[in-house]
């Protein structure tokens, strides 16, 4: 297994995009922490940037990488290797390099400037988001043969998770404003890994008071240790289910 992961990582490092991504994250996080006198405020500004940039870069880079390594996959499939091993190695290679970039670019500054529970939660969420969106990209790429279409789907999925989903939730909330939807909202957040990470981090920041009654309900669920553990489990599911579905598809794919 590790051999192919090694070649995938070498290949990813060879094109300098990962390096640029790391430097970019590092610049943003360090400059934000230096601009704000209060590092908690800096964390809040960083939160929004991270929740948008990390999924975008992860999903786009992974989707494009899968399409560009079509030859590599073809070559490997004709060798004495199982398809499962090939696919999981490519996934692991992508996930590891995205994770390392995030940890160096954003995780490290966060933990240096804000070594609290909030900072730790933010780092964990960033790592999860990197891997989750790599898995979603794999699923999108394995299901579409056409490169432009596949990358388009990846962009649409990112738009859906970071913008459209919130719009839909708001729409539902306003339509059913007369009903008590607080508990259902908790179920809704599990459907979007970005929202789930955002709530996990915000609740650690004690900003829930500003979110009114819904915030209180969220606090009572996500604020507890069990709630946090369940949310992390849901995030893990978001990682494994797309990866597993894409593996199933890849096993039957003609190359």
């Amino acid at each position: 297994m590790n051999k192919i992961i090694k070649y995938v990582i070498i290949d990813i490092l060879r094109n300098k995009i990962m390096l640029a991504y790391t430097v970019f994250l590092l610049l943003i996080s360090v400059s934000i922490f230096n601009l704000e006198d209060n590092s908690a405020k800096g964390l809040l500004s960083l939160l929004n940037i991270i929740l948008i940039i990390i999924p975008l870069v992860s999903i786009l880079f992974s989707a494009i990488y899968i399409y560009n390594s079509a030859e590599f996959l073809e070559l490997l499939v004709s060798q004495p290797l199982t398809r499962k091993r090939i696919w999981l190695s490519v996934f692991a290679g992508l996930a590891i390099s995205l994770m390392i970039s995030f940890l160096i670019g954003a995780g490290l500054p966060i933990l240096i400037y804000e070594p609290t529970a909030i900072g730790v939660m933010m780092t964990i969420s960033g790592v999860f988001l990197s891997v989750i969106f790599a898995a979603i990209a794999l699923l999108a790429a394995v299901n579409t043969r056409d490169k432009a279409k596949g990358i388009g789907i990846a962009i649409l999925l990112w738009l859906y998770f970071s913008l459209l989903f919130d719009g839909l939730v708001l729409f539902v909330l306003f339509q059913f404003a007369d009903y008590p939807l607080e508990k259902i909202m908790i179920g809704f957040t599990a459907l979007n890994p970005i929202d789930l990470s955002r709530i996990l981090i915000l609740l650690k920041m004690d900003l829930s008071a500003m979110m009114g009654y819904t915030g209180a309900v969220f606090k009572s669920v996500f604020g507890t240790n069990i709630g946090t553990i369940i949310s992390l489990l849901v995030l893990s599911l978001w990682m494994f289910i797309p990866a597993w579905l894409s593996l199933r598809k890849f096993n039957r794919k003609d190359l």
Partner: protein, 244 residues
């Protein structure tokens, strides 16, 4: 050695393989012949496990290839169009393949690398190579691990005459060692002195599988190209009679 049973593969509406069965044994050199789009490459790719058939199964040395992936270490495959990671140099590609196949270096067969003079090009990236050089790399890779089975898809397409001659000599040498060689080519004159068996495919259907001697006897032609042309004409005639 390789047995295929009732293979059927559809790409959408197109039937690439229609109930194809065949058996290949050690020591044979089989020419896979047919018009463009007759399913030759699909057949080869399904033997390699790169295409998953809709129905039917393939066994390699008695084991179904769906469950046993290790059989591919006995196959050297030279694709029709060699597609390799563009960023890698030839040297890196060879090193990676050696790393993946894990053969001890004394068992490696590097004659083609030497004869094609690939040593001088080791530092070149795959994306800068010409079509012919790519074919040379493909050929060198297929023979590198001295596999028991060689599957060559249009091996001489794009090669210059010198390289073609080197490759042909190599194929003859491997054939003498008793290896199974499966070869597709459009240039039938090249196959004359190699082939022992002929498989003819058309529209995904395996029309016939005969030994070259039988084919020569039936058609009364000595050259493979003439023999095949005779057979193709008779098949067309047959179809015309059937269709009225």
């Amino acid at each position: 050695m390789i047995i295929a049973n009732n293979l059927t593969k559809k790409f959408g509406k197109l039937i690439a393989l229609n109930n194809v069965s065949l058996a290949c044994n050690k020591g044979e050199c089989i020419a896979l012949i047919g018009p463009n789009g007759s399913g030759k490459t699909t057949l080869i790719k399904s033997i390699l496990g790169m295409v998953v058939c809709d129905s039917g199964f393939i066994t390699f040395n008695g084991k179904n290839i769906v469950h046993d992936w290790k059989y591919r270490s006995n196959i050297g495959y030279m694709p029709q169009i060699g597609r390799y990671p563009e960023n890698m140099t030839i040297g890196q590609l060879l090193a990676m393949m050696k790393d993946i196949r894990k053969k001890p270096s004394q068992e490696l067969d590097e004659t083609l690398i030497e004869q094609f003079e690939l040593h001088k090009l080791m530092h070149k990236r795959m994306c800068t190579l010409s079509g012919g050089t790519r074919q040379k790399v493909s050929a060198a890779l297929a023979f590198l691990f001295s596999p028991e089975v060689l599957i060559l898809d249009e091996p001489t397409a794009g090669l210059d005459p010198v390289a073609t001659e080197i490759l042909k000599e190599k194929i003859v040498a491997e054939k003498k060692k008793g290896k199974l060689i499966l070869i597709t080519s459009h240039v039938l004159s090249e196959l004359d002195d190699l082939v022992t068996e002929v498989i003819y495919m058309q529209d995904g259907i395996l029309k016939f599988h005969k030994s070259f001697e039988d084919l020569q006897a039936i058609t009364g032609q000595v050259k493979l190209s003439k023999a095949i042309a005779t057979v193709m004409l008779s098949i067309q005639l047959e179809q015309k009679i059937i269709n009225g």
